[in-house]
Symmetry: C2
Subunit: 364 residues, 2 copies
């Protein structure tokens, strides 16, 4: 693809790397004998979803009802909306079902919401969210409310799900392995407890990219969820979950200024284009707001976006020769610190390295 004269900033998706990343995860889940329900919160794209499922038009995870609508309207069935439901979203959930006939599975973690769902006209399947250690959403495995919720849900109760978000907090693979096992244990224990009380638990769902890759024994787990593995970013790279050649997403940006006196090179990718997420820096301090790469080869230029303003990125340059190598008006690509936030920055879609454009569904 000839990037010259493309207006910037735009989002570039390497179709070959995406295909490799998707195939690797599908093969991994086949080997582990678990169903992969890809999380599309990063991609928010029908075309990416089809690659992630290898053409299967069902069994996906989303993080917003805008995504749920988009994928259901696009033909996907069996969609898990993995954010706890509340009554102000019931009308939209009902409308999706009536309009598309597709199945949207909900999650919740309180008797109040179980009661609200059960007494509403909604007939959606529901999972109970379990907290496996992140202390975000979900109930502890031994919480007395667990069977109460299952009882309140009646036939809408389908199983349990948990997410070890804390697997993103370490770059030690043996730590990830431990967290993966505790995620599995929490879900299986909750399922076992409910089954002993007579509830039918069909779905036992876990996952995050690190824990799916590094979980060992998935017995008792019916399905896994992961998403960022499709694109990867410096956050995954810095924690040894992805290799450099697995980084499929970048932002095409233009050098818009040379401040030779201050040793600053300015690009037109700032806080809006890259986001202000610097989570990767906990394990890769030099990640900053993203790495500058050669526009064609993706070779790292040894430079980062060190500071972001709304539409400006400031790059510290110690070698003045780089000003000549990167003249004003020339292009570079920036590997994002955190792809989920960068991809949702308002681009509207992905420019593929083979010239195609794939739209995405941002917002709510």
């Amino acid at each position: 693809m000839n990037f010259n004269m493309l207006e910037t900033p735009i989002l570039i998706l390497d179709a070959d790397r995406l295909a490799v990343n998707a195939a690797r995860m599908l093969q991994h889940c086949d080997e582990k004998k678990v169903f992969l329900r890809p999380h599309l919160k990063t991609a928010k794209s029908l075309e990416v979803a089809k690659i992630a499922t290898n053409g299967r038009m069902d069994g996906i995870t989303v993080s917003t009802l805008a995504e749920a609508d988009y994928f259901a309207d696009g033909g996907f069935d069996d969609i898990l909306y993995a954010v706890a439901i509340t009554p102000n979203k019931f009308a939209r959930v009902a409308a999706l079902g009536q309009r598309t006939g597709k199945s949207l599975m909900l999650i919740l973690d309180s008797p109040e919401m179980a009661q609200a769902v059960a007494s509403s006209p909604l007939n959606n399947p529901v999972l109970i969210e379990i907290d496996c250690g992140e202390s975000r959403g979900g109930l502890p495995t031994d919480d007395p409310a667990l069977p109460e919720i299952a009882r309140l849900l009646g036939p809408q109760f389908r199983g349990v799900m948990t997410h070890a978000g804390h697997s993103y907090s370490t770059d030690q693979i043996d730590e990830v392995q431990k967290i993966a096992q505790s995620e599995i244990t929490a879900a299986v224990d909750a399922a076992t407890r409910l089954r002993k009380l007579g509830f039918g638990v069909g779905i036992v769902s876990v996952g995050s990219t690190p824990t799916v890759y590094y979980g060992d024994d998935f017995r008792g787990i019916s399905e896994v969820r992961a998403g960022i593995y499709l694109f990867n970013d410096l956050s995954q790279y810095g924690r040894n979950i992805a290799r450099y050649e697995d980084l499929a997403l970048s932002v095409l940006t233009t050098i818009i200024g040379h401040n030779r006196k201050a040793g600053i090179l300015t690009v037109d990718a700032g806080a809006m284009a890259l986001s202000k997420d610097i989570g990767a820096n906990a394990h890769l301090p030099e990640a900053r707001f993203g790495w500058l790469c050669d526009v064609d080869t993706m070779a790292h230029l040894g430079l980062a976006v060190d500071l972001v303003h709304q539409e400006h990125g400031s790059v510290k340059v110690s070698d003045p020769a780089l000003f000549d190598r990167l003249p004003i008006g020339s292009l570079v690509r920036v590997i994002p610190n955190h792809a989920c936030l960068t991809a949702a920055a308002g681009y509207g879609g992905f420019h593929l390295t083979d010239g195609r454009f794939w739209p995405r569904q941002d917002g709510w």
Copy 2:
């Protein structure tokens, strides 16, 4: 306005506070005898622009060509695109002029780009960007390239502009006053230097919300630019640039979970809805990712979004009574840490407190 059952997260704009904020700045600029060219990079809304200009359909600033197109198509003339131009944007700039007949003023800071503009079919007016101390874009006042650029631009050269972005780095008003004066001095010095060399300098443009409010002597300045004053946020509040009652923007969010064991309350406004900007925390550490307020009165609840995940915000709760006060399914409003980033999170527009909806133009 009855917020109950509104789907969340959505962006709420207090129309009364916006009107007060806009009128105050217009009056301030009248008193200082400078032309106000509001920066619409935060609002990105035609309706807000009309309020910011008091109905005048010209003289505004934008940060993207998407905004430029949107405001020109919406009837605004004399638009300043305040990010240095490069050749890959010439085609879109030309198309805007041909389509709308409106004037788009460009900025640049290098002989290379002055040459590129001058030798292109573009006939847009151009300002030279001056660096007044932030070390981002712009040339020092005494840079030898300054007259060279003016010469290369020929009749397209119209003046100089600078932006003291570093005025956002202090909460000391006397410091802001000094930065404001140095911003004015830089612009006036550059203009004076060019005039002595025979160039006609019609426009001498400075500004940021803090420096426009705290600049003293604006002699030699033809116009000022400011934007965040329209909405304000915890960043402005924490640096004493805005009062609590000037905070016009908030995110309506739903309590989606109680984790009583961990002392965590979860809302459906996370990194996507609020952004990961924590710039305010430098001067207001308790700002975190935003303050929780009563949905009707906007009274601060003494709680903040302490941690953000993609679609979840985690709120630390030390008083268990708050779980009862804020049941699952109830609504709160979050005052953003930094309004520019939050407003651009993908909401598509503003829900006004009087029930209206105003769209906005995000992206590029």
